[in-house]
Symmetry: C2
Subunit: 407 residues, 2 copies
């Protein structure tokens, strides 16, 4: 087996649910040793979230947990007990990176704030992923993915062009985007901190705020609003009419096509048969075409009504090199030949679950590729291996820890 | 000035618009030397996108370009010309990382595919960020942020719970989320590849697909659909009724609150005054409460109609520690005291633009912090510095390159 990209990295993960666990998974899947620390008895809260096989709740059969925690070692440990804290600190003595997602106040009261950890292990990189970050007046407030979406302002324009905003609430995107965005941001930051440590041997405190990570995902338009103080309308594109940014109807479904960029406009006119309206100056300049995009959209939909989305794709993208794709449902995604060829989704094995499908590598590279080496751990599965072989506790001490509820 | 985290890293960016440029910015803002290579005459296409000061288009005053390209050196170079390609390859001889976002076929035809570059500089890490990735039958197709949104399936459920899906098109989230997600994923991957290179001295080809980066942002629910073959409804949360995942109305606006998790439910009942309905078993178990969330929502909205969102925040979050926040517009975000305290947005200076506001650090850490050292370059601003001082061309040769359109 080839050595993996991060084989020499030792990580402790004291995180719950998605943000810190997904950050840990990103490193574990590239070969880092990640020891996941879970509260005894209950474990990570994702163990109680579905989906479960046959919809039967079982803390050892949560697909969400199984996906988020592949390739990790798992121990149960009550970090709030004196002995648990001692063991936790001993683990951190041997670690390069701690990933955690608890409120700063909680970590401080436990004596596990960055300053205390840094004085014990000056090389340790502490990656803290929280709803609101390590500073500012909201730092100890509780948040969720939904809250991050709306604190960061990205939720407000997400519901699309509604006729009656007062009575149609702002929504959020599907899934756990703030958590995942924060996790990837955390991985980039932790890796950058490791690069910095090469120069001076000193660890860093990495501060990731979930809602800041998400608000930056807006990208370009945010600059417009920051710099000009404009409040965006509740439109999908924020800075332009929604009709240029929403999919169009074909005979059997929706497709997206690029109608704004000048480089593709001549081809689009060709596809439409060089109609008279399209030759007017107003439609041959990106800015004015954008201002009149609803006219363009109506014409393109009129053309598309005789074609299936597959035919539209063939004509626009394949034959005329105009960016265009049918709108995929999740089902379309899982059965799409391009994704199958790329291994976008992979089969995973888990002793309590069997085989299940999950997303494959979020990034991959040559030589030392992404790898699934082992399933997510059962709660406390590696207690013996870590406590005895690694930290030198005896089997008798392990039994006593169990009786005391420390593990 | 303290050394920065990535001060010893040399990066060449041959990218356009947002994905590769934002990836380059993430490294430049932490101190990496990033040389941005733009086509002579036209430059990066973000130069032609707004916003512009006073809405007057000017390729040297695009705020989008100015934000995406801070801290970089900029040269103009026609990489498709023989001399341009020679200069480009000479630059790469001295680089640790190349970031690019052109179709694989284009790079291959130019002789700038990973294999060719790797044989010239075996330590070079090539980070390729494209719509569909380096493999699979769609690899050379053109995409946009809108297309990535719908190819990855995340757009389909984004429009919310619509009554008439056939006549209400799927939408997308605001801004350039696929581009930004791919950029951060690219930064994490490039940093991981650098960590791997420490072990064997060999560069890697990093393969980032924009729509794959985005589809993973869905997080948890995707596992449900991959593993069970379910097609999600067009609901905001995908795996649960939208009413538990959408903001609620208060007297003067919307707020988000956590009503599902068991740990916060006793406090919510207390806030509501322990009403009779809430004591029924069906509302005291997470699963059945979730199934009946519309009843809960209606009661919470009934309670909230007498309070402003600020009062709701005070009562739920501050006094009762229930995750809760008002829904912010972008304007609320820019004036929010928490963001101001954290420096979430910063002032930037640009010689042609003046002062403008832009997002600050996406991740920050102690000791060697994020820094704006210089503005985005004018087109070809560092041609002399790079071509003459770095690569040894004479001023006469530089003049000739300009005449030939190579720079």
């Amino acid at each position: 087996m080839p050595q993996q990209a991060l084989s020499d990295l030792k990580v402790v993960e004291y995180g719950d649910f998605i943000s810190a666990p997904y950050c840990g998974k990103l490193l574990a899947d590239l070969g880092a040793e990640v020891i996941k620390v879970e509260p005894p008895g209950t474990g990570d809260s994702s163990r109680r979230y579905g989906p479960f096989p046959n919809d039967e709740p079982d803390t050892e059969r949560s697909l969400l947990y199984a996906y988020m925690n592949t390739n990790k070692l798992g121990i149960s440990l009550d970090v709030q007990s004196p002995l648990g804290k001692k063991i936790f600190k001993a683990l951190l003595q041997q670690a390069d990176v701690l990933i955690e997602n608890y409120p700063p106040k909680f970590m401080h009261e436990l004596g596990l704030d960055h300053e205390s950890l840094h004085s014990a292990n000056p090389g340790l990189i502490v990656t803290s992923i929280t709803s609101f970050g390590q500073s500012g007046q909201y730092r100890d407030y509780k948040g969720t993915d939904l809250i991050s979406f709306h604190m960061g302002g990205i939720g407000y324009p997400t519901s699309g062009d509604v006729d009656d905003p007062d009575n149609y609430p702002p929504l959020k995107g599907p899934g756990h985007q703030a958590d995942i965005m924060a996790a990837i941001t955390g991985a980039a930051a932790a890796m950058s901190a490791l690069m910095a440590r090469r120069m001076d041997g000193v660890g860093r405190h990495v501060d990731i705020s979930e809602q800041e990570a998400l608000v930056r995902a807006i990208g370009g338009p945010i600059v417009s609003h920051v710099s000009r103080g404009e409040t965006p309308n509740r439109i999908a594109g924020m800075d332009r009419p929604i009709s240029g940014r929403k999919p169009l109807r074909a005979k059997d479904g929706y497709f997206s096509a690029q109608m704004l960029m000048d480089q593709f406009w001549p081809s689009m006119k060709k596809v439409l048969g060089y109609p008279e309206w399209a030759e007017q100056d107003v439609f041959n300049d990106r800015t004015t075409r954008s201002q009149n995009i609803e006219v363009v959209t109506a014409h393109v939909e009129e053309w598309a009504k005789d074609y299936t989305t597959a035919e539209v794709f063939q004509i626009l993208q394949v034959e005329n090199h105009i960016p265009c794709l049918p709108v995929n449902t999740m089902e379309d995604v899982f059965t799409h030949p391009h994704f199958i060829e790329r291994g976008t989704f992979v089969q995973m094995e888990h002793p309590d679950i069997g085989t299940f499908q999950a997303p494959g590598p979020p990034y991959d590279f040559s030589l030392t590729p992404w790898q699934i080496k082992g399933p997510a751990p059962r709660l406390g599965q590696h207690n013996g291996e870590i406590m005895c072989s690694r930290l030198g506790y005896s089997k008798e001490e392990l039994v006593k820890m169990k009786q005391l509820g420390v593990i």
